[in-house]
């Protein structure tokens, strides 16, 4: 009975979610079509979804779209991966070696206050416009926004769990690997989800300044040729990519943290 009810509510929200998206796109299509007819403003400013779709097909056929997507995805994966890896590494150092934290955390706090994008022109002057400075900026942005979540997760381990493990004979290292790390994993995923927005932001900035490929470049390039259709196409793909990455993270989160999800809902209706 209870289960059935729960399933029903889930279906109900999903239905509304889908309808909401359909309504959005239909409204967009209608407004754009009406604008073409009545010319409230320049029709080129707001292409309809169907026109964007045709643009997409056209660019797939002329072979310009997929390589741009591929290079952006590659930059995201590399930057996000490196940033996450470094954040985990530094998080572990910070928590285990107070000396390192005492030395580095003020510096990280100082830099953390600066939007990473402000550093890009400097990075380009120092390291050129190669792939490494782009991936570097993305990794840096990811790292900076994720580190606090990891440190927080590691430090917020319940003392009673640490006591329990030490009474089972766990060494300091074992307490770290068997108690603190599993305890911090949910926080790591929260951090990754939040950092993802920064990662995408960094990708855009990096590709808009001094790139010749990628989704960000597509937007900048389209502006020069006044190809609003291309802009819309790129923007939509960025949105979809973000959703995809977010979904993948959520999927793994659900898979890994079954122990966290409550079996019973807080208030039964």
């Amino acid at each position: 009975m209870n289960k059935k009810k729960k399933k029903k509510t889930v279906k109900w929200t999903v239905k509304v979610n889908i309808i909401s998206l359909i309504v959005f796109f239909v409204a967009w299509q209608l407004i754009s079509m009406a604008n073409e007819k009545y010319l409230w403003f320049n029709a080129k400013f707001l292409p309809s979804p169907s026109e964007v779709w045709l643009t997409a097909v056209e660019h797939v056929q002329d072979g310009t779209l997929l390589p741009n997507i591929a290079i952006s995805v590659q930059r995201i994966l590399l930057g996000f991966g490196i940033g996450t890896g470094l954040a985990i590494l530094f998080g572990c150092f910070f928590v285990n070696i107070p000396f390192i934290e005492a030395w580095l955390s003020p510096i990280f706090n100082l830099f953390g206050a600066i939007p990473p994008f402000a550093l890009l022109p400097l990075i380009i002057i120092w390291f050129g416009i190669g792939e490494s400075s782009k991936v570097g900026l993305i990794a840096y942005s990811t790292f900076m926004s994720m580190l606090p979540y990891i440190v927080d997760g590691l430090k917020n381990t319940s003392p009673v769990l640490i006591r329990a493990a030490s009474s089972l004979g766990a060494s300091k290292m074992q307490i770290f690997t068997r108690v603190m790390i599993p305890n911090a994993l949910p926080n790591l995923f929260v951090g990754m989800k939040i950092a993802l927005a920064m990662t995408f932001g960094a990708l855009m900035v990096a590709e808009m300044l001094g790139a010749s490929k990628g989704l960000g470049f597509m937007i900048i390039n389209a502006r020069q040729w006044f190809r609003v259709n291309d802009m819309f196409l790129s923007i939509i793909i960025i949105g979809l990519l973000y959703e995809l990455f977010f979904y993948i993270l959520t999927f793994f989160e659900k898979l890994l943290f079954k122990w966290k999800t409550d079996v019973s809902s807080a208030i039964e209706k």
């Binding site: 009474s167 004979g169 079996v263």
Partner: protein, 268 residues
């Protein structure tokens, strides 16, 4: 009060499991030494092997501090604590601990929680599985091995906590109000269960509670901590299973309630 409730400290011998020698604990409260607050002063307790000792006392009497010192989580300010003749120098697997808040790893299943100790101590996989089987059977949670702590009721979680501590084969078992968070009926059942385990496993138990009835029902000896000191140390001369309605039992209850100040300690 009748004669059997007199102070009976066991003779010193080789079979002393826990020896608390002139232990004091103070917490620094201010800049000057005079501001230090003593929670325990000159405590002497001997617990014999295979003895079930309950420590009774009002909240804040230092009974949890006592347990935390035996467990090695905190250090005595003065004096020494030995487990089987060897000084306690920090938390170790020699003293298994059961907490009031079960303290199971939330990310591990029932089975993996029980296997945690053996795994930490690098036992082989087969051995770990064998131990897990044995203790899951002991606490009667067959079929629930793959449950996570969140899915367990309070009583079940506490049984897993006890199994986890025992699976590691500790020399002594310390229990810090393990039944305190349970409802009356579960608590009743858990006491019977605990005595069954105690008799089967032949283990030394140091048990903290604020329930007079619980202490008398469970313990071979009841120690009352009051005003930072051992107020009395009484051997409970009743056969198990004990009848809580029996005259003698009620006599003990009255005795301890008078020690603690009537009305300050409520039964469950």
């Amino acid at each position: 009060m009748s004669e059997q409730v007199t102070q009976t400290i066991p003779d010193a011998g080789d079979d002393i499991a826990i020896r608390v020698k002139d232990v004091s604990k103070k917490y620094e409260n201010g800049m000057e030494a005079n501001d230090d607050v003593y929670v325990l002063e000159h405590i002497n307790i001997d617990v014999r092997k295979n003895e079930f000792v309950c420590v009774l006392g009002p909240s804040g009497c230092g009974k949890s501090t006592m347990l935390n010192m035996i467990a090695g989580y905190i250090k005595p300010s003065d004096g020494e604590i030995d487990i089987f003749g060897e000084q306690v120098k920090g938390a170790s697997r020699r003293a298994g601990v059961v907490f009031q808040s079960h303290a199971l790893m939330p990310w591990l299943t029932v089975r993996k929680n029980i296997m945690l100790g053996p795994k930490i101590n690098k036992k082989s996989k087969e051995e770990c599985e064998e131990i897990a089987d044995k203790y899951i059977q002991m606490i009667g949670l067959q079929g629930m091995e793959s449950y996570y702590p969140k899915q367990l009721s309070g009583g079940m979680a506490q049984r897993v906590g006890i199994a986890r501590a025992l699976a590691n084969e500790p020399e002594i078992l310390l229990m810090d109000e393990p039944l305190g968070a349970l409802d009356a009926i579960t608590r009743e059942n858990m006491r019977i269960e605990l005595l069954r385990i105690f008799e089967k496993e032949k283990i030394t138990i140091f048990f903290i509670t604020h329930s007079v009835q619980e202490a008398i029902y469970l313990a071979d000896r009841v120690i009352v901590l009051k005003d930072k000191k051992v107020d009395c140390d009484v051997h409970i001369d009743l056969d198990r299973p004990r009848n809580m309605q029996s005259e003698k039992f009620i006599e003990y209850v009255k005795f301890f309630e008078s020690k603690l100040g009537t009305g300050t300690v409520t039964s469950d």
